[in-house]
C-alpha cells in the first residue's frame, strides 16, 4: 500500500499543505517545531482516525479555524485508487469518507490502511506502566482484526456498567444482589474471555516475529521473550471456554474484594506483558541501550506481523526516531528501510545530511522535503532530485532557492 498524496487543511501548524510522496523513503527535515511531525500525525488520522500522540482533537484544529481536514490518496488498497478524507468539526466530531462515501462508523477504516509508528515515546513501552503495553497490544490486534476492536469497545462499556452497579453498593453491608450484577458479570466474562483468548493466541504467534525483528537490529545473541500475565497462565491451545471458566472462578474469588473496592478487579483491563532478554526483565534491569533496542524490535515486529497478516505492507512513520540511535544502528535501520522488508516510510529529522549518506535521494523511489515556517504556517517544499533537474529544467528553479539549511536548526 502506497500513500501518493496527502492534503492537510487547518491541521496544527498547517494552513493548506499538499505533500506528494514517493513509494519508499520520504524524508521531512527542518527545524524543531515547524510542523514535520504534523504530517505524520495527519497520516495517522487518515489511517486510524486519531493521532499517535495522546491529544485532544480540538487542539489539532489550527488556531481560529472552524475545523480541520486531512485527505490521503492511496494506491494498492482494495481498488487501484482509494481516497480517504477525515473531517473534524469540534461541535460535530469526526467523519470519514472513503471515495466520497461517508462511513457509518469511524472504526470501519481501522485495518484497511495499516500504519506503524516509531517515535521517541516508544521508550514508555518498556519503561513505563502496563497501560502502555496494553495499548500496544490493542493497536496491533485492532489493525489485524476488526472484530477485536469491536469486542474491546463492548467490553469497556459492559465493565463501566458493572462498575456503576458495584459503586452503588460500595458502602452497603452486602454486595449487589444477583439480579443487578449477574447479567453484567456474565457479559464481561463472555466478551473479556474473547479479548484474552485473542491476545493469548496473538502473543504466541508474535514471539517469533519479535525474535526475527530483534536479530535484524541487534547482532547480540540475546533472546527476547514476552510473557502474558493475565487471569491465569494459558497455553497456546487454551480454548475460549477454558478462559471463561478461569475468568468466572476469578470473579467468584474476588467477589468480596470487588464489593469493598466498588469496582471490577478481574479482566483484560489488568493484563500485563513482561518483556525479557534471556532471563533479564527489561523494565527493571535493562540498560538504556537494551530498552531502546527492545522497543524498536517490538515496533519492527509489529510491522512484520501486520505485513503477513494483512498481506500488504503498512506505512511506516518514523518520528524523530533516529535522534538517539548510534551510527551503527542508524545504518542498519536505514538499510532495512531501503530493502524489500519495509514498504513506504516517512522520516522526520532536523537534518538531511545523515540520511543523504546512505539514502540515494536521486532515485525516484525516495524523496526529501524541507519543512519551514512561512508567515506562521508550515510549508513543505520538495527538493528535486538531481536526476529530475537534468531531465526537466535547469537547476535555477526551486532546488537552488531551497537548499538544505542546517542553519535553521537554531530556531526554537
Amino acid at each position: 500500500m502506497i500513500l501518493r498524496t496527502l492534503r492537510l487543511r487547518s491541521f496544527r501548524a498547517h494552513d493548506e499543505t499538499t505533500v506528494e510522496l514517493r513509494p519508499k523513503v520520504n524524508l521531512l527535515h527542518g527545524a524543531n517545531g515547524v510542523g514535520k511531525t504534523n504530517v505524520l500525525e495527519a497520516i495517522h488520522y487518515v489511517c486510524l482516525t486519531k493521532s499517535f500522540t495522546a491529544t485532544n482533537d480540538r487542539y489539532v484544529v489550527r488556531q481560529d479555524a472552524p475545523y480541520f481536514e486531512v485527505e490521503g490518496l492511496f494506491e494498492g488498497v482494495r481498488s487501484t485508487e482509494t481516497r480517504v478524507r477525515l473531517v473534524y468539526v469540534p461541535s460535530e466530531g469526526k467523519k470519514v469518507f472513503v471515495n466520497g462515501a461517508p462511513l457509518d462508523r469511524l472504526t470501519e477504516i481501522v485495518g484497511m490502511l495499516p500504519v506503524v509508528v516509531f517515535s521517541p515515546e516508544d521508550h514508555a513501552l518498556t519503561a513505563e506502566g502496563p497501560s502502555e503495553r496494553r495499548r500496544f497490544l490493542n493497536n496491533i490486534l485492532s489493525q489485524a482484526r476488526p472484530v477485536y476492536m469491536d469486542d474491546l469497545m463492548k467490553y469497556r462499556r459492559a465493565r463501566k456498567q458493572r462498575n456503576e452497579v458495584l459503586r452503588q453498593y460500595k458502602k452497603r453491608p452486602s454486595p449487589p444482589p444477583d439480579a443487578l450484577i449477574e447479567p453484567w458479570t456474565e457479559k464481561i466474562i463472555m466478551i473479556g474471555s474473547r479479548v484474552i483468548h485473542r491476545r493469548n493466541q496473538f502473543l504466541h504467534t508474535f514471539r517469533e516475529y519479535l525474535v526475527d525483528a530483534y536479530e535484524r537490529i541487534d547482532a547480540v545473541a540475546e533472546e527476547p521473550t514476552i510473557e502474558y500475565d493475565t487471569i491465569d497462565a494459558f497455553e497456546e491451545s487454551t480454548t475460549e471456554s477454558e478462559i471463561q471458566k478461569a475468568f468466572r472462578s476469578e470473579v467468584e474469588r474476588k467477589r468480596e474484594h470487588e464489593h469493598q473496592r466498588g469496582t471490577t478487579l478481574v479482566g483484560p483491563q489488568r493484563d500485563e506483558l513482561v518483556f525479557r532478554l534471556d532471563d533479564l526483565e527489561v523494565r527493571r534491569y535493562g540498560s538504556q541501550g537494551q530498552h531502546r533496542t527492545f522497543a524498536m524490535a517490538l515496533k519492527l515486529a509489529q510491522y512484520l506481523y501486520l505485513t503477513d497478516r494483512l498481506d500488504t505492507q503498512p506505512i511506516l512513520l518514523l518520528d524523530d526516531a533516529f535522534g538517539k540511535l548510534d551510527a551503527r544502528r542508524t545504518d542498519v535501520f536505514l538499510e532495512l528501510l531501503m530493502s524489500d522488508v519495509i514498504g513506504q516510510s516517512l522520516i522526520t529529522a532536523t537534518r538531511r545530511s545523515p540520511f543523504a549518506k546512505t539514502i540515494d535521494f536521486d532515485r525516484p523511489t525516495h524523496g526529501s522535503m524541507h519543512v519551514t515556517r512561512v508567515d506562521g504556517a508550515a510549508r513543505v517544499t520538495p527538493e528535486q532530485n538531481r536526476g529530475d533537474d537534468a531531465s526537466t529544467e535547469d537547476a535555477s528553479g526551486t532546488a537552488t532557492t531551497v537548499p538544505e539549511s542546517p542553519v535553521q536548526e537554531q530556531q526554537t
Binding site: 462499556r157 456503576e164 452497579v165 452503588q168 458502602k171 449487589p176 439480579a179 443487578l180 457479559k187
Partner: protein
C-alpha cells in the same frame, strides 16, 4: 454565545433538552422557527401538547396509542401465542412496517443501564413475566430495584448516578403498580404464550437486557428467541431497513 433576545436564548435552551440536539443545531432550529409563519409554529406547539395530553399507553403491551387496549392487542387477527419484546414504541412501528410479524408486542421502555440509572425494575419486565405466566409473583423477580440502589448511592459518599444524554426509561407514563392490566384483552381465556421474541438492539445494554429476561423467563418453559443478529454491528433497530429486519425476524435464534 450571547443573544440579543432572551426568548431566542430560552428556545435554544429548550431545544438542547432533546436528544442528539447540540447548541449549534438548536440555534439552527430557532432560526428556522423565526422564519416560519405563526400558524405553523402554533401547529407544532399544539402537537407537542397533544402528544402529552391525549396519547396514552396500552395497559397490556405499553405501546403509545390513542386508546387502551391498543389496536394490536385488541385485534382478532393477531397471533396471541407470540410476544415480540421491543425497547420503545418506535421499534414496534419499525417491525410493523415489515408486515412480516403477526403476533403481539411488549414495550419495555428502555434497556438495563446502570450508568443511566435504569435497573431491571425500572423497565416493564415484571409485566412481561406476568403476561407469559399469570402466576408469576413479584417476589420471583428482582427484589431489589435500581431505585433502592440509587438510595444507596445517595446515602454513600458518591453522588447519584450520572444520567446520560439519552434516558432510556424516561419516555413518559410510569408502569402501573398492580397487575390490573396484565390480563390484557378481557376475561376470556387468554391464549397461552408459546414464544417470546426479544427484539432489543444489538449493543451491550440490549444484550444484557436480553440475557436478564431470558434468565427470568426460563423457568416458565416458554422458548425465548432473539432477533437482530442479521443487523449490522451497533446498528439501530429503528433505522434498519425493512428487508434487513424481515431477514432478522426469520433468522432469530436462541439467546
Amino acid at each position: 454565545m450571547q443573544f440579543t433576545s432572551e426568548s431566542v436564548e430560552a428556545l435554544v435552551e429548550q431545544f438542547t433538552k432533546l436528544p442528539t440536539i447540540g447548541r449549534k443545531t438548536a440555534q439552527r432550529l430557532v432560526n428556522f422557527v423565526l422564519k416560519m409563519p405563526r400558524e405553523e409554529v402554533e401547529e407544532i406547539a399544539r402537537a407537542l401538547i397533544a402528544v402529552k395530553d391525549q396519547v396514552q399507553r396500552c395497559s397490556t403491551c405499553f405501546v403509545v396509542a390513542d386508546r387502551d387496549p391498543c389496536p394490536i392487542c385488541s385485534s382478532e387477527k393477531r397471533d396471541r401465542s407470540t410476544i415480540c419484546v421491543v425497547e420503545e414504541s418506535s421499534d414496534l412501528l419499525a417491525i410493523e412496517r415489515t408486515g412480516e410479524y403477526r403476533g403481539l408486542y411488549h414495550v419495555l421502555g428502555g434497556v438495563i443501564s446502570p450508568l443511566d440509572g435504569v435497573g431491571p425494575d425500572d423497565l416493564r419486565i415484571r409485566e412481561l413475566a406476568r403476561r407469559v405466566d399469570p402466576s408469576f409473583a413479584d417476589s420471583e423477580a428482582a427484589n431489589v430495584s435500581a431505585a433502592d440502589a440509587r438510595e444507596a448511592a445517595e446515602s454513600g459518599e458518591a453522588g447519584p448516578p450520572e444520567v446520560g444524554d439519552e434516558p432510556h426509561a424516561g419516555d413518559g407514563a410510569p408502569a402501573p403498580d398492580d397487575a390490573d392490566g396484565a390480563d390484557g384483552a378481557g376475561e376470556d381465556e387468554e391464549a397461552e404464550v408459546e414464544e417470546v421474541i426479544l427484539a432489543v438492539n444489538p449493543n451491550v445494554e440490549g444484550d444484557t437486557t436480553a440475557y436478564y429476561i431470558s434468565q427470568l423467563l426460563e423457568p416458565m418453559g416458554v422458548p425465548v428467541t432473539r432477533i437482530a443478529r442479521g443487523l449490522p454491528i451497533g446498528g439501530d433497530l429503528e433505522y434498519a431497513d425493512e428487508a434487513t429486519l424481515s431477514r432478522a425476524l426469520e433468522g432469530r435464534g436462541a439467546v
